[in-house]
Symmetry: C2
Subunit: 308 residues, 2 copies
């Protein structure tokens, strides 16, 4: 079980090396992250995009391109379709966004012929190493799916359980979060959290322990759980997966702790696709991108094993 | 302007000393906080509740009761009605919860004859001193009103502007938060945030600058605002007031940063009442209670001046 990103980066090295396909790779931060991930031995990469620009940036950042496959496609939309097809065809294991609009990148992911669509809803998992919490925490959804339905949430739990499993966390503890830890008919979020708990109890949601509603302090801190007499709740103080009521709650928590907690580390991945997809954003640091590549690599290994 | 709680505690000493009425004061953490606030010169207090128990606890914690008025009422509901009436009648300036169920405490606040009801919706403001942010941040609502309507939010802004004013923050910058900083019809929260901005522009919401929707990073951090090209937004990087979409978003952020950010400081107050009300919870530390008493004292002064 990877308890932090250092352990995850070690774990990646123990599986067969994966290949990343990057759409529109002609971007300094993206190439810096790919270079470092490659230098760490985590991935090989195929760089799809404007070759002249890629070569120029590589020269500037001291990146030896002889280790990489380059596919020259100048048009950005076309480049994304070429890059995603490599993953679709099995020539690469995972797909990463370079410098193109998110909308166009997602269109390539969902392309019916060459994309990675499964027919299921796409969602997003952020993985965080939080000082004071002794295990990796998997947050969903802080960035992609605005208002998930109950059925979406069932899938989001399944996706996130896969990501947790890929990181070596077996039978993860899932906390559907709310402002309070008791069911209150006046707060639909708590009713839905209880519904998810029941679906887990009845075996409809498998491979995890769902215990909701939980407040964030009870989910992550045993001291808070004890203080509130909730220490016997199955996920109290030990939640691996935090399921947010909606994107606003998730994103506001994510951005708050990302900016305010010294030493916090993050990686993230899109879920609901045939192969791992990294939807990096411009504001992600190099470390976030590298952590996300590592996540994608262990998830790729996990998905291949599951399908084998 | 109080930039942090130390400055706020200094500010309180510059206004005429206020009197706190405590309902069911027979509780160690409550009496410890009242004692320390009194020792700091912030308040006088009337302790309503079980006198024998109050005297016994006072002895244990070295609290000299000759400085306090004690009103012996053993029944908890009756004690709360007695305590709130002192504020209603002007014999005390603010009202604080001791050891009784929140439900009963709120009933006393809303009591038609002796309570502090205004007929307006009750809400809650948490004030936080966040390391890395150079001013106090006012969060609403992280603890009380589950699903505020647009009209509720207008009132919540008015309440929080009053609290900010009481802390010396003139014309506070208000950020109605969302996952994103642009209006998206598929995300009703962003439409509502924009609605509040327009109501401020047209003069319907006064005494502040409303700029929404904003994401949390843009609201509080100029670097994030610049990165996203949002540095010219009126509240970018400088938001005083964070208005949350609902209680889940607010509470999850509040609990996350309260537990995860070293050195964070907090105080809180109920709003929408005739006089300041402190709805302290068992899990609040002594410092949180003292900060809340200080907030109540400056708010009491502010409300008296406004009504003079």
């Amino acid at each position: 079980m990877s308890k932090n990103f250092d352990e995850l980066l070690q774990k990646v090295k123990s599986v067969s090396k994966k290949t990343l396909s990057v759409a529109c790779a002609q971007d300094v931060p993206v190439l810096e992250a790919v270079k470092e991930a490659h230098d760490l031995g985590i991935v090989d990469a195929t760089l799809v995009g404007d070759e002249a620009q890629i070569r120029s940036i590589a020269k500037d950042i001291g990146m030896d391109l002889s280790d990489y496959r380059i596919v020259n496609v100048e048009d950005k939309v076309e480049a994304s379709l070429t890059a995603v097809k490599l993953v679709h065809d099995g020539e690469a294991d995972m797909y990463m966004k370079g410098i193109l609009p998110t909308k166009d990148f997602l269109k390539s992911v969902l392309n019916k012929e060459v994309g990675l669509r499964t027919g299921k809803t796409l969602s997003h998992v952020a993985v965080m190493e939080i000082p004071g919490v002794d295990h990796l925490v998997f947050l969903t959804d802080v960035a992609f799916l605005p208002y998930p339905t109950l059925q979406d949430k069932v899938q989001m739990i399944e996706y996130t359980v896969d990501v947790a499993n890929a990181c070596g966390v077996e039978n993860p503890k899932v906390a559907p979060l709310a402002a309070v830890e008791v069911v209150n008919p006046k707060m639909p979020v708590t009713v839905e959290a209880d519904e998810l708990r029941k679906m887990n109890e009845s075996g409809e949601i498998k491979g995890c322990v769902v215990d909701g509603p939980l407040s964030l302090d009870i989910a992550l801190y045993e001291s808070a759980a004890k203080e509130k007499g909730a220490q016997d709740r199955p996920c109290a103080g030990k939640a691996d997966i935090l399921l947010f009521p909606d994107i606003h709650a998730g994103n506001l928590v994510y951005k708050a702790i990302n900016h305010m907690v010294p030493g916090i580390k993050t990686g993230a991945i899109l879920t609901g696709t045939k192969s791992p997809v990294i939807l990096s954003s411009r504001s992600d640091t190099k470390d976030v991108k590298i952590n996300s590549i590592a996540l994608a690599a262990v998830l790729s290994e996990h998905m291949k094993k599951a399908n084998a």
